[in-house]
Amino acid sequence: MKRLPSSVLPWLLLSPAMVLLIAFTHYPALATLWHSFFSTPKGVRPSVFVGLENYRLMADDPVFWQALCNNLWFALGTIPLAIALAILMALWVNEKLAGRGVLRLAYFTPTVLPMIAVANIWLFFYTPQYGLLEQITGALGLPSHNWLGNPQTVLGALMVVAVWKEAGFFMIFYLAALQQISPVLAEAAALEGASRWQYFWRVQFPLLMPTTLFVLINALINAFRLVDHIVVMTKGGPDNASSLLLYYIYEVGFAFWDSSYAAALTVVLLALLGLIALVKFRVLDRRTHYQ
């Protein structure tokens, strides 16, 4: 057997990963872009080139704009809160306290539960009149409220679920990062007479920055790819008040079978996620200190 030329081997080693990457990431993305310029084929009507018509339709589509706005609000409402909670929980379970393992497990539980089951449980929490939330507020004498049935509160109610679900997951990263911080720093801070808050704000928080960055990107992506809660809890209603971008894409693609319009919507979502990645690499990365 002859030896392979030296340039072939690296490509051979790369190829399994590359085949997967091309088949499941690059090709679908390009195909989506291509399909978004055509009309949807129907059993009786083949697809034709329509140029930018799908995008023009999108500009006039109030549901698309609403889903996009909902999504931005959703991201704004959940991410800072989930991250703050995650840091708090991580700081707490990082201490030496009794039952620490159980507490860590409790915080992490939401992450390991299947999303559909979780959404069903929350659906029961929010049920008017006899749901868990109602039983608590009812016992306190507060008025009954239809949380998921009211366009003003439905998005907020879904945000609570997302924060509950995400915070425990992010806590794990913060916990790992906190344990990487050398105890020498804590001792030095104690010697200098720094308060608990000063130690956190001047020492711990800056050192957690790489984790925060990682978590932030993940949270942003999660906010834009959320779909399962919506399917189970609200189906985007009432009157699209809780429709998020990915749910709307699902609806257009698989309830209306308008695959080319769904492709155009997907391109917009991809562009948004691409933008987020760009911001991470170009801007945030430079301002972060790694150890």
């Binding site: 009149q129 009432p238 009157d239």
Partner: protein
Amino acid sequence: MRRTVLKSLAALAVSAAFCTPVLAANPVEISFYYPVAVGGAVTKTIDSMVADFEKAHPDIKVKAIYAGTYQESIVKALTAFKGGTPPTLAVLLSTDLFTLIDENAILPIDSLASSAEDKKWIAGFYKGFMENSQTEGKTWGIPFQRSTIVMYYNKALFKEAGLNPDKAPANWNEMVEAAKKLTKRDAAGNVTQWGVKIPSTGFGYWMFQAMTASNDTLLMNSAGTKTYFDKPGAVQALQHWVDLTTKEKVMPAGSIEWGTTPKDFLEQKAAMVWTTTGNLTNIRTNASFPFGVAMLPGIKHPGSPTGGGNFYVFNKTSPAEQQAAMKFIRFATEPARAAQWSIATGYVAPRQDAWDTPEMKKYLQDVPAADVAREQMKYGVAELSTHDNQRVTKALNDNLQAALSDTKTPEAALKDAQREAERILRSYGR
């Protein structure tokens, strides 16, 4: 010698793989998607029906696949169809008719069953149910789990409120009056028991159609190319619905979940609920109080759209599979079995001969409520069904929810729904 045997065996295996229908001894396997839209043990009932069928037809194997809700089922069926492996047979909403035809996904039943005897069989189904099953002069679906909307009411709560428990409200005004007496508030003014609940998620358009039907207003034409959402009769009907929460305060504000409505009734949190007759058996088994079933109280007269699912046979399947599927449909709609199915679930048996069976007659004596839905069909209209049905229905549902949650007036909401529907349907009108 051994080699020749092996060779011929291999050849046999290859030819068998290519022409299964030729070998009649091999059982034909068909796949059957079905949805569940009501509470109770419907899956078990279907499984036992499939087992009985396989016993009666040992040459056919049926793979019954529970495919989720109606919406999820059509997504799965059409995705499978586009992927080249459609189910042979599926139960999908009767209103999905135009969507399935436009995708070229289903076969007309009369192309598979064309003998004189078959024609007689098809003619045996209730006309009301066939309205959503026939178009272009062809029969595309066979009624199976069909229903109408009925009103369930809690007799114990009626008695408590000083109402006659044996007489349900017969019209809209009577319903509102009864609901006022049935709505209870605690000392702080919070409602602990609602007079009436009409669900608005998922099947909002269906409930609304009952109101418009009783107000002499149709919502679409039979070709599925035009809608009439903003007719004065429709606006008036929606105003009545909205008034239940804003003016009369006998129904909770915001959207009311389709899925939890039967539960609200069983928990005695709502004294009267509108839901499908398909929930009858679920409510009958789980209610801890006496209850009644009544025709929907109408605005001018009673009225209800039909609803529920039809059998469809899919394109891109082999003729042998299609014939096997037809055998299954015939089996499931035989009078005795249709009666049994109706008794097990509460769905309306779709043929007169099923109602004439001794089992059904005995059942009606025990549960007279089961006859309400059939009686109501005299006032029945076809369920809302158009081309691009899911999209048109969503436009209406969204706007109904907007009106019910007080973000649009009924008139503005229905105008928006109509404009949206016209935009969606413009290419089909020509």
